[in-house]
Amino acid sequence: MAETEGVRRRDFINIAAVSAAGVAGIGIVVPLVSQMSASADVLAASSTEIDISAIQPGQAIKAVFRKQPVFVRNLTPKEIAEANAVDASSLRDPQTLEERTKEGKENWLITMGVCTHLGCVPLGAGEGEVKGEFGGYFCPCHGSSYDTAARIRKGPAPKNLEVPDYTFSSDTVVKIG
């Protein structure tokens, strides 16, 4: 009996020592993994201010937000009417233009310029670019078409173009992020 007790105690210490080594191993892996996530300087550069005073109705600009394009579009009344004419519930990603813009600023459509399919930059923001059959944006990679509220209407993309967090700092300046 005393003999087996001794053996058990010994096994216990060996198991404890190996477990401690295992904990140390996990402790080493944590910083090795987390060093690859975004560093402080990258995270800090995560808001952008854009001057929108020069954008005429019907025009759009491409700005940079978090190293990705963001589209700022000044919709014409016709484009707004087209967007509102669609029954939102019939869409793949049901949203109204109202939900995608700020109150009182319905003509300012601000979306990421990143196709929700596989991340290409859709056409339509630049002067003279193809806007697709729904008059909004058209992604040339796999043919996704977005309407004037940048909602997905046709093609493989699953979601509407993402609307980032933003606020109007003034009537002419938008702060994104």
């Binding site: 910083p31 090795l32 987390s34 060093q35 690859m36 996530s37 560093s39 402080a40 300087d41």
Partner: protein, 433 residues
Amino acid sequence: MSFPWVKHYTPAHPFMKWMDDRLPIPRLVYNAVGGGYEVPRNLNYFWNFGFLAGLCLVLQIVTGIVMAMHYAANTAVAFDTIEMTVRDVNWGWLMRYAHANGASAFFVVIYIHIFRGFYYGSYKAPREMVWLLGVVIFLLMMATAFMGYVLPWGQMSFWGAKVITGLFGAIPFVGEPLQQWLLGGFAPDNAALNRFFSLHYLLPFVILGVVILHIWALHIPGSSNPTGVEVKSSSDTVPFYPFYVAKDGWAIGVFAILFAIAVFYFPNALGHPDNYIPANPMSTPAHIVPEWYFWPFYAILRAFTQDFFFIPAKLMGVLAMFGAILVWFFLPWLDKSPVRSGGYRPLYRKFFFFGLIPAMAVLFYCGGAPAAEPYVMFSQLAALYYFAHFLIIIPVVSAIEKPLPLPFSITEAVLGKDDEAQLSVPAAPASAV
């Protein structure tokens, strides 16, 4: 490695058997660091440093890969990318300090490992190849460490690169073109920085390859031991697993504590303040020194202050600095003493403790000191002893020394008697792992 009593690998699990039949990695591991490697039972703690050196290599490769993820080898931004790593990357400061101090830890371990070899005659037959490969590893380590130190592109990085490549300029006739070829220019710049980065990333894997050969060569005759008497019977050895795994395991713990104290509390103690100043090719720091692990050889380089007949002092210094390491290659043939361990060699032992060790200590100290008197004179005397030790004293001592009587076997050395050894057949030298 096959003593007759070595246990053979028998797969415990059907999967291991399946694997072993197709790709015998389990068997390889078992024979290398498992129950299939029989090791002398009397190893002291100096024998832990081989395993620790392997651990250091892994540490450097892992932290180095991380550093390379955030580093850019361009003189315009290299310094800033390191600072960015330290300041903004998650745990970047830890990676940087672990990598920088890891190099120092690696050299501490390797110097102890080498001097263990000197004292216990580990370089002697039948382990000459283990020794030669070890010296190759040491040379590769020095090259890797030197190029790594250039990468942060601080003042010491730049001037270290300039001075060390300048050594090649001392070689007659081809010196200057050779130096230009090494740097890809007239002075260290983008070309040099980029190739140093490339080679600094490559060489550790070359080292890893040579380490595998080093261990392979070791497993042919098996480990040496403090008595220097070869293994004779099964009572002389214990299997590596669990015995030496446990011993190395707790030694790793001690190493890790010391290393953590250095990394977390004295991360810059072994570095040089000037390397926190970005490289400036127009202004040399007042006192340039390499990293501490090069100091003995740097002291030897600087010890030659006078032309010797037709050989310029600069060339003498370079010859001596490289010669100081190259001489190790010949050690197995310079030391002809039939007795391996310094413990049974009264005269050799005296020279080791009262000659070589103090000389190395002086060279270490003077290599880090300014190039002024009295340090130069001290390093001249120490370097003089260094060369005399390896090239004159060792051959002469091994011829005239009368060694102490050796124990019959390891078992006898440990237990005071060895009943088994009288009966058993001495182990034949093995021919395969």
